[in-house]
Symmetry: C2
Subunit: 430 residues, 2 copies
């Protein structure tokens, strides 16, 4: 029997490879942070994880969030978006210091790790602090400084520089961080600014992360002002390419969809946030049908309020079924793929992560599906999607390192971080 | 310090009483299965549950399910309702034996107990088996034989007798079971049959549980056949009174809503099932505004697929926000109330259960909200609704008996039941 540094044994392994192979029982052998074996044979390891009765998946990829917003969680809720932002979020954000962002991001990264999220796409500010938090917890992050041009007193080039400086410094940092440029949205950045962002992204060789067409009024306003939709306008300035990920993408017409597909732009679908803020339902089923790369996102903890991709998979599917009034929309297999490999593809990281295949980095999640709520498991995609909870995640491996074991985070002193977090919350909100 | 048989100490206690009082820290004293103290004082107990940092709620009341359908969980998924029923459910149901129903109901009752559901409203067949399962697990059930008149070879009176015989025998059984009559739906029972059900319910002094207006085609067909909506037709035959609970109630016009309110009929809202089967979204926010009693239901494990009321609270709120395109729809406080006291009211059991008040029976749930995903808790209604999972339920008391402790069911041998369940599934599905 082959012996590896780490062996995951006897699980129900969803590889998410091209053939969507499932090994049950299946084993995984890991060496030097890399997957060296996956299949039906028994393997041994210096360290072993017994996954009997457990579903084993690639790490979940959270394609859109604002991690430090754990600070804003569970208050001033059930409010319209504008009121929530203007009366609650923005006044507090004006007082945010780097150390608040750090501890907010630590809590978010810890929560994601415990929920099996091994990589996430984040936009906020003081992103150097977020990078530190991500590396301390031991997951992966694609990070961008949020660039709000139009509502700022500062010069556009100065705002852009904030983004490019972060990207230059952190892209590739410690092998776990990638940078992107994060122009905030179609209503908070001018077209000229977005053209400059495109130029800088090309120069730096990083991707772009932007909110787009999240709610109807700004899209209508954009069309009134420019005589065309945001997508068409962005396409005309050459902004849209396969390194762009647009979050939300709800208010799109057929021509917008065609452009997104043709330019191979990726989309982050955020079903919980889109329902909670009453934004609407994106045309995900149609996007998938024409081959647009779609990843799943939780959005920030202020509008969800968890960072639980497993729970969100269910809601992702339910929302599409309701939108199209068709129970076969976004079935379980598709949504599990979207939350793992689809996310890796959307972030252009699928050469490294997103599936359990020999040669990929070892980002692996063991979910305790021996609990009553999953029985009988029958189809593991279905059991995971419709019966699952991030609270049932038991073990998490990232880059060949066991960062969660038996539901306990191994990398940081969580009690201490939560105490600091409570102090930051008191400090900010009084 | 007062000493009780059982003391729940230092929790964040949501009483769900008329004033929605919250004690944090709060304690509960229990004696003879009854709540004798709730408030901010320290209490002691012969048995103690330390609920520090945990949210403590009344037991959740699942207002509509078909518990033995755990047998059908996680297979033949993402299918249209009719195909799912005709090609999968009905052929297997024709082979169901009482012992299958028993073990299916045991698994469901165990799952509910572990998720903090202490009372549920169930419709299926072989309900004597379900009653046994409920009592073995130690929760409460309102049980009705599902009476499908129109698609049956048997005489209507014979079908009705099945329901009345069960009700006569089990209403009040062991203090934990109530019976109801369960005419299946407006499309599977004639008006004459429903008139007879009403008579028998009056004679027996039990309530009525019926599916109504779940999908559009049968309602349209009913209007074509009778020249009026099902609600109007039922009202004209005197069927609608405050002991009737209608499940789903999606396709209602304004006049239907007015009648439901005037007759004080209760409604079970099943957001997950309604989305999963692409049935539609009920007008719950409007019902609440005019004071209709609304409880929350999971529906059967075949169309959800869990029996997790905490997770469903989130989806309940999200669906109303999307339906009305208003993020203030069905806020967290309302949905927690709906899932506890609202359910007790809908089942006319609120004199006994549904809130943590002196004199009520002790049905109490302790949720481990010390986990990262709930932090900072701030508003406990919000934290529970938007961050919650049934998997975080730690301790459950029903009628003053601790049936779940540290996440472990105390009342039945779960491993053994799951083995029997696996055999039943193999037996039925081959």
């Amino acid at each position: 029997m082959e012996k590896y540094e780490i062996a995951v044994r006897n699980g129900i392994v969803l590889t998410m490879d091209d053939e969507m192979k499932v090994f049950s029982p299946g084993s995984i052998g890991i060496e030097d942070g890399e997957i060296r074996y996956v299949g039906g044979d028994e393997v041994r390891g210096e360290e072993e994880i017994d996954a009997r009765g457990c579903i084993v998946t690639p790490g979940f990829v959270n394609c859109h969030t604002h991690s430090p917003m754990t600070l804003f969680r569970n208050a001033f809720e059930d409010q319209p978006l504008e009121k929530w932002l203007k009366e609650y979020v923005w006044p507090v954000e004006a007082r945010l210091k780097p150390e608040h962002v750090k501890v907010g991001a630590l809590v978010a990264a810890a929560e994601m790790a415990l929920n099996g999220v091994t990589c996430f796409n984040d936009m906020y500010f003081y992103m150097d602090q977020v990078a530190e938090a991500v590396v301390e917890v031991g997951i992966r992050g694609v990070l961008s400084e949020g660039l709000v041009e139009l509502f700022s007193d500062r010069a556009s080039e100065e705002i852009l520089r904030k983004g490019t400086e972060f990207a230059r410094r952190y892209h590739g940092w410690k092998g776990m961080i990638w940078a992107a440029l994060g122009p905030h949205a179609e209503y908070s950045c001018s077209l000229e600014f977005l053209r400059r962002v495109r130029e800088e992204a090309d120069r730096l060789g990083v991707g772009i992360h932007i909110h787009l067409a999240e709610t109807k009024p700004p899209v209508d306003e954009f069309v009134r002002a420019h005589g065309k939709t945001p997508i068409k306008a962005l396409d005309e300035i050459g902004f849209l390419r396969n390194d762009v990920l647009i979050a939300h993408a709800i208010y799109l017409d057929d021509e917008d969809l065609r452009i997104i597909r043709e330019r191979d732009v990726a989309v982050a679908y955020n079903p919980v946030s889109n329902m909670k803020l009453a934004s609407g339902a994106a045309r995900i089923e149609e996007m998938m049908r024409v081959g647009i790369r779609v990843g799943l996102g939780t959005d920030g903890p202020g509008s969800n309020n968890t960072l639980d991709m497993i729970q969100d998979m269910k809601i992702a599917s339910l929302l599409q079924k309701l939108k199209y009034m068709d129970p076969s929309s976004l079935p379980a297999r598709s949504v599990v793929r979207m939350a793992t490999r689809g996310g890796a593809e959307a972030l252009n990281l699928d050469h490294m992560i997103g599936s359990i295949e020999v040669g990929k980095r070892a980002d692996i999640v063991v979910i305790n599906t021996r609990k009553v709520r999953y029985q009988p498991i029958r189809d593991p995609y279905t059991a995971l999607t419709y019966c699952g909870s991030g609270s049932d995640v038991r073990d998490v491996i990232v880059d060949g390192r066991i960062i969660v074991r038996d539901g306990v985070l191994q990398t940081i002193d969580l009690e201490k971080v939560l105490e600091e977090f409570e102090r930051a919350v008191s400090d900010l909100f009084g």
